[in-house]
Structure formats: C-alpha cells, structure tokens
C-alpha cells in the first residue's frame, strides 16, 4: 500500500542489502491512550515492532474522538489524530476493569518484550503491573510509563494538561521569544508538543532498554515525566542557570538572544531572518540593494556594538523593505546570497516543498474510513532499516480475535 519512507532517489542504499525492519523482533503491548504514549508506540511500530494496542471495548482509545476529524459523516473511526498516531499497530479490545480482562492482559504480557503506558501514577498497579514489584514479577519486561510529572508528583502537580505542563516546565513563561511582558505568555505550537516530546524521549529509552535486554534478558522500569523532558530540552540555558553561570530573573526575555533576528512580514506571508555575524549583515545589504539606512552601521555591529537603537533601526529597515516583497522570491534570493532566512511554512507549503518531496517525508496511506491521504513520516532516513508505514491505524478491535487465538499455544517462533 505504501512505499518505504525514502525512495531510491532520496536515500540511495549505501549498503546494497535489502532493508530489515530494525525492531521486527520486538513485541510491545501498548496500554497508552493519549498522544504521548501513542506517539511513542508509533515511533517503534514504524520501525517494525509489533505493537498491540489494548483498547476499551465499545469506545476505544479516547484519541479516537479527538480531532482533526474527517469532516464528513459521524463515523466513529474518523479521527485523523488516531490514524496518524497508530499506524502499523494492532488493536485488541479488552476490558481491563474486569478480572478476566487483566488475566488476559497477563497472558499477553507473558509474550511481550515491552509495555508502554501513559495513565496517571498508580494505574499500572491496578492492572497487575506494579512498577515496584516488576523486577521480581516480570524481570524480563521493559515497562515504560509516561506521566505529566513522573511517578511521584507533588500534591500541587496531580492534575495537568499539556498547556499546564508546558508552563510548568519553563518553556511557557518564555514563549513567545521577544514577547511583550503585558501580554500572556503563550502555549507552544499545536495541542500536543509536550506529549510528542515525552513520547520521543520514551521511545529512546525503550529502544535503549530493548537493546540491553537483547543480551542481558533483563527488563527495566522507565519513568518518563513530561515536565522533566521539557525542562531538560532547555539544558543549554537551564544548565547555566542551575550552575550559577547565568543569572535567573523574572524577566520574560531571559532566553532571548540579543540582536535584530526575528519574524518579519512579507506581502504574502512571513519569514524568519537570522542576523548574528558580519557575513549575514553583508548578505542582507546585497539582498536589500544597499539601502541608505544601513550605511552608518559599523561593519561588526552585530557582534560588538549591538545597541537597542541599532536593533530597532535595523528591524524597521528590514520590515519596511520586506512588506512589499513576495515571500518565496525573497527566500530564493536570500538563499542564493548567503543570508540565513527561512519561510514560515504552513502545511500546504510543506506538502509542496521540493526538499520534503525529495526526501519523501510524506507518505500516502489508505485507511478504510478516512480514505487515502498523505501522512507525515519520520525525520531520519536510514539506509539499512528505514521506518515505513505498512498498515494504517487499526479499526477498534480489528485484531482482537487474532490476538486471542495467538494466545493459545502460541510460541514466539510462530510470529508472522
């Protein structure tokens, strides 16, 4: 149905051997039902891991009701979010609130290498997977839990959504860059940035734990905190702040860099202009045709004499020129002249980006309800074990029967 990510043109095989899915030996049970754990599972299933998604019979994962919903009809299987986050997975409907449900889960776990969960702390114990007794009970299992603040949240961190985690991590207060202190700090892009970041971190840890397990036969409990993930993404500044190398301050602009770099409006869109060195300044001069306002600036002002007045004047000059220019033409000219300038792209721009097309970043996937559409794939092109979408997200309970049948008398060699 779909081509492997990265066709021959985009990713010439540097090895001359047929690709083998990197994680085809791994079976993962996904108990997660929010974007963080589902994204983690997807990162692994797109590398060939068998990811068995456990869903509540009847309604399934709550992400099945989250948008973007395909506009037509009221079909329960029309969530584009679920379709995106669950490619290549299998759906087994199982009611974990019943004793027989958890007993069946236990049988599935006997054949699993790893488990991904994203329920609140304490939930796992209720389905028979107490992290505290994992080592004794299931020493070979990799169990990864993703929560908002980790397994031991303080009393004032028990309830969270991605917005509040974003603000509880240090990112929110300093977003947007160069913001106006009288306006509220803002959320990050989209609805789920903290979830995706945590899902990525979880996938890294699970992959590393599976790597070790392949030789040691021992599993691990992994505790992922969205807050800690986001805070750690700030290490370049947070490391300096915590070591006392940089002053802390209630200022909103603490993370900002000096200088005139920023977002500017063109006639038909926006661009980001980076300016930090003389070479950028010279390239800007060539792009703008050497306007009078640039002449009084010292050659090395960006590095050495970057005053607030000069920054303001520079921004005025760039803004006045760019507002009448066509975005794509400016981008093309800037790239040629060596000015570091990038367009603020929207999805429609990206779908047509020659670079993204070259790398086959989008892949066509056919889903039984949503039909055929382009899906974002992965940012890494791998010569020997490319990620690929072989199957669309499962319908609710699509693999329940096969999953249960496999439990009777199955051994691991029987796997397809």
């Amino acid at each position: 149905m779909t081509a492997p990510f990265g066709d021959a043109a985009a990713s010439p095989s540097k090895l001359g051997v047929p690709p083998v899915p990197a994680l085809s030996q791994c079976r993962i049970v996904e108990l997660a039902e929010t974007p963080s754990g589902e994204y983690c599972g997807k990162l692994l299933s797109d590398f060939g891991a068998e990811v068995i998604k456990i869903e509540i019979p009847g309604s399934g994962s709550p992400t099945r009701s989250l948008g973007p919903l395909a506009s037509s009809g009221g079909h329960p299987e029309r969530s584009g979010l679920f379709a995106y986050l669950n490619t290549n997975k299998k759906s087994v409907a199982l009611d974990l609130s019943t004793a027989s449900g958890t007993a069946t889960l236990s049988l599935l776990l006997d054949q699993a290498d790893a488990v991904i969960d994203d329920h609140p702390p304490g939930w796992l114990k209720g389905v028979g997977l107490d992290p505290g007794t994992l080592e004794a009970g299931r020493p070979g299992l990799v169990l990864c839990s993703i929560t908002d603040f980790g397994q031991e949240p303080l009393d004032d961190r028990r309830h969270a959504e991605d917005l509040t985690v974003f603000h509880g991590s240090g990112w929110g207060y300093h977003t947007p860059g160069g913001g106006d202190d009288t306006q509220p700090p803002l959320n990050g892009p989209g609805r789920f940035l903290p979830s995706y970041e945590a899902g990525l971190e979880a996938a890294l840890c699970v992959a590393a734990a599976l790597y070790d397990r392949a030789s040691s036969q021992t599993g691990r409990f992994i505790d992922i905190s969205k807050q800690a993930v986001l805070a750690s993404r700030l290490d370049y500044v947070l490391g300096q702040l915590v070591a006392g190398d940089m002053d802390v301050s209630p200022r909103r602009g603490v993370f900002d860099l000096r200088g005139p770099a920023g977002i500017f409006a063109c006639r038909d869109g926006y661009v980001y202009v980076w300016l930090s060195e003389p070479v950028h300044w010279q390239a800007l001069g060539r792009l703008l045709g050497g306007p009078d306002w640039m002449r009084p600036f010292p050659d090395r002002w960006l590095e050495r004499e970057c005053t607030a007045e000069r920054v303001a004047e520079c921004r005025r000059g760039i803004a006045a020129w760019l507002k009448d220019q066509a975005r794509d033409k400016v981008v093309e000219d800037a790239q040629r002249l060596g000015l570091t300038l990038a367009p603020l792209n929207a999805p429609d721009d990206l779908l047509m980006s020659p670079q993204y097309l070259f790398r086959a970043y989008f892949a066509e996937v056919t889903h039984p309800v949503l039909g055929t559409a382009m899906y974002p794939t992965v940012p890494y092109r791998m010569s020997a074990s490319p990620a690929r979408i072989d199957a669309p997200a499962p319908l609710l309970g699509q693999h329940t029967e096969a999953g249960f049948a496999a439990l009777s008398g199955n051994n691991r060699e029987d796997r397809p």
Partner: protein
C-alpha cells in the same frame, strides 16, 4: 587512567562525536546518559564553537559545559593526515559516529561514510543537517529558529490574529538531538539483529514538523490550515494563561464539564457551576472571551502559586507559569533528581541538568563536560593501545594534545 563503568542500557557502546553548539552535542549527551562511552573529537583549530562563546577559557564556557556532561574529550588535529588516520583507528573500535558539521565538511576531512565504513564495516554513521544531506536545500545551513520557521512550528505560536510570534529562540536543537539519538539506538538494535551498520541522515526541519504532525493531518484530510490560536484549544475551555499578582501568570486547562464545575466552586462562584451558558464545552467555547475575562478578574490580584495549589486541590489542571527563578528552584524537578551534582575542579561539585528519565539500573551520572583534550591519554593509551613513545611522538608533531 581508566574510565569506570557507569552501567545503563548502552554500557559497552562507544560513540564518537564530531559536533558543535547544541543539537549534535545533545544527541551525544543522551547516549552518554544511557551509558554509552561518548568521545568528543576536537582540536584547537576545530573547536566546538560553544567553547568560545562568552569566555576566554575554552574549558569554562558555560554553554558548552551545560550540553556536554558525561563525555570524554580527545584532542586530535583532524586537519592533518596523521590525525585523520588516528581518528579512523578510533572509529575502528567504535559503534556510532555522530556529526553535525557543515554539509560536506566530513568528506573534506576524509571522514565520510564510505571511508569510515572501509575501516569499520558495521559503523552506524549519523549525519545531522538542517534539511538533510541530499536534496535541493541540502547546502543550506541555519539555526534553530530557521528550521522551526521552515517546519511549520513557528506560525502556530502567537495570538489568534496578527503576526505569528514563534517559539523561544531556544526551541528545536534539543528535540532534533533527541530524535537523532533515538535513530542511532534503533540502528544499534538493527545491528544486533543483523550484524550490519548503516548510514542515517537526519533533517532538523523534519524533526520539528513531526512535533506538529497532527496539524499536517488536518490539512491532508480536511484541507484546513491551522494557525496560531493564542492559548486556546479546540477541545477544552477555559484553556489559557491568566495574569496574577506581581507580574506572575497562571496556566489553567479545563478538560471536562466536571472540571468546569470544580473551577466555579474553587472561584467561589457556585452560580457559574450550573449556569446553562457554561454548562458544556460548546457553550463555553461560544463565550470564551467572557469566560477568560471572568477568570482573569479572579486571578489578577492573587498569588499564582497559591492559585495553582488551590485549583489542584479541586482537581483542576493548573500550574504557575515558571520563570527562570522558579524553574531552578522547582521542588518537583529537584525531588526527581533532575539536577545531579558532578565533581568540579574548581568548586568541588556542580549541578548539571541530568537525564529527564528515571530508570532501573540507569547509568550513573558522574562527570561534567570534559576539558579540551582531557581524555587524550585514555583514548590513545587505553583504547588505541599506543605506547607512551608513540603518544609522545604524536604530541610532538602537534597531532594530539
């Protein structure tokens, strides 16, 4: 000198890093935190430029120290033939190479994939670049806000109307580095199964597009181009950041009708709890401006931390928006152990930003960032097995330090 085993799932894996500034070093740092031995190759003439940002002493650059803990540093001049030969010897005893130099730089050094593979056939060779190593934009370079702009991230941050504001200039490199580390570990899994290494080509721009993948789906399924929406959320209301006393801010998200009733009670407004105009999400979305004004009027003279505690006690998702002052003192992050102390040659110990994760049998976090060439002796002697005389000869020739 020997480097003691630190444990962790990647113990026994050796990574050689040719990297600079943030994204490449971040990828190496995560692998080191997972237990890999990560060796950063530098020389006076080819420094990680973050060693010279803001300071004269290359061993004390704060940004460099923040992103490079738990690594080893070797000084080898890769602009000499002997230096390249030495690096190839080291790569012959390594598992992973990570580089984020300018496009083409590794080839000019004579350290491209084909050359490295000739000495280490199963090497996992990871190249990082802004748009990928090949394709129409592959010669372009840039910094995080540039690939954030290109990726679709920047235009999704901003007020509901008007000019997009973009993320903090700091966003992007670490996400890109994490993605790279993940791909490298997956390749290790693959190598364990098949015995073969591979070449990995990571695009920074695509890494960030992946962080807003569902907005792409909205376009490809529905033709809808989402824009910035301030602090709002299509499936929750209220969902915002509200002014508090002393210039502080409170973030708050109400994800259910029950949470809304709890919020009304926390605000001491039982009349709002059952008010038909706010009863369900559709009602609240329709009157979101009014709702935000009501909440802001309640928060504006109160303490953000007190409000967060009050709302949490009522079961509502709320958090103070943490300034840098709050962040370095955050009791949750300290309780989790995010800031382990490592030995410091000047002050005894020094806190670093450690791994975000906690895991059973994780790697011990024992060291800060290396001084330039701090582990040259270890690499030449212990790993490469060079005699003291051979090491001295390399040093005399200016190849190593």
């Amino acid at each position: 000198m020997t480097i003691g085993p630190r444990g962790g799932p990647l113990q026994g894996v050796r990574v050689v890093e040719f990297s600079k500034v943030w994204a490449g070093p971040f990828a190496g740092k995560l692998l080191a935190f997972l237990g890999a031995e990560v060796i950063k190759v530098e020389s006076r003439g080819a420094l990680d430029v973050s060693r010279i940002y803001g300071v004269g002493d290359v061993d004390k650059a704060p940004g460099f120290r923040a992103v490079n803990p738990q690594k080893l540093g070797v000084q080898i001049d890769v602009k000499t033939k002997e230096g390249v030969a030495l690096v190839l010897d080291l790569l012959g005893k390594s598992d992973v190479l990570i580089e984020n130099l300018r496009p083409g730089a590794m080839k000019r050094l004579g350290l491209d994939y084909e050359t490295v593979r000739a000495v280490k056939p199963d090497i996992i060779y990871v190249s990082m670049s802004m748009y990928g190593e090949e394709g129409p934009l592959s010669d372009q370079t840039g910094y995080a806000p540039c690939f954030a702009a290109f990726s679709g991230v920047s235009r999704l941050v901003g007020p509901e109307a008007g000019k997009p504001a973009g993320m903090s200039v700091r966003y992007g490199d670490s996400t890109y580095g994490t993605t790279t580390a993940f791909a490298a570990v997956v390749a290790l899994m693959h190598r364990r199964q098949t015995g073969i290494g591979q070449y990995i080509d990571v695009s920074a721009a695509e890494c960030l597009t992946s962080m807003v993948g569902d907005t792409i789906m909205d376009f490809t399924l529905n033709g809808r181009v989402q824009g910035a929406n301030g602090n709002r959320h299509p499936e929750m209301a209220p969902h915002g950041v509200y002014p508090c006393r002393d210039g502080e801010w409170l973030s708050l998200a109400v994800s259910s009708d029950r949470a809304w009733r709890a919020l009304a009670l926390a605000m001491d407004r039982p009349d709002l709890a059952e008010h038909p105009q706010f009863r369900n999400l559709a009602n609240r979305k329709a009157r979101e401006d009014e709702l935000d004004q009501l909440i802001a009027a309640w928060t504006t003279s109160r303490d953000a931390g007190d409000l967060a505690a009050l709302l949490q006690a009522h079961g509502i998702a709320a958090a103070k928006s943490l300034s840098s002052v709050d962040l370095v003192a955050d009791p949750q992050l300290w309780a989790r152990g995010l800031f382990p102390e490592v030995p410091d040659r000047d002050s005894g110990t020094r806190p670093i930003v450690g791994p975000s994760w906690r895991m059973s049998r994780g790697a011990a976090i024992t060291a800060g960032a290396p001084k330039l060439g701090e582990h040259t002796d270890y690499v030449l002697g212990e790993i490469l097995g060079l005699s003291p005389e051979a090491q001295q000869k390399l040093a005399d020739g200016g190849i190593t330090r």
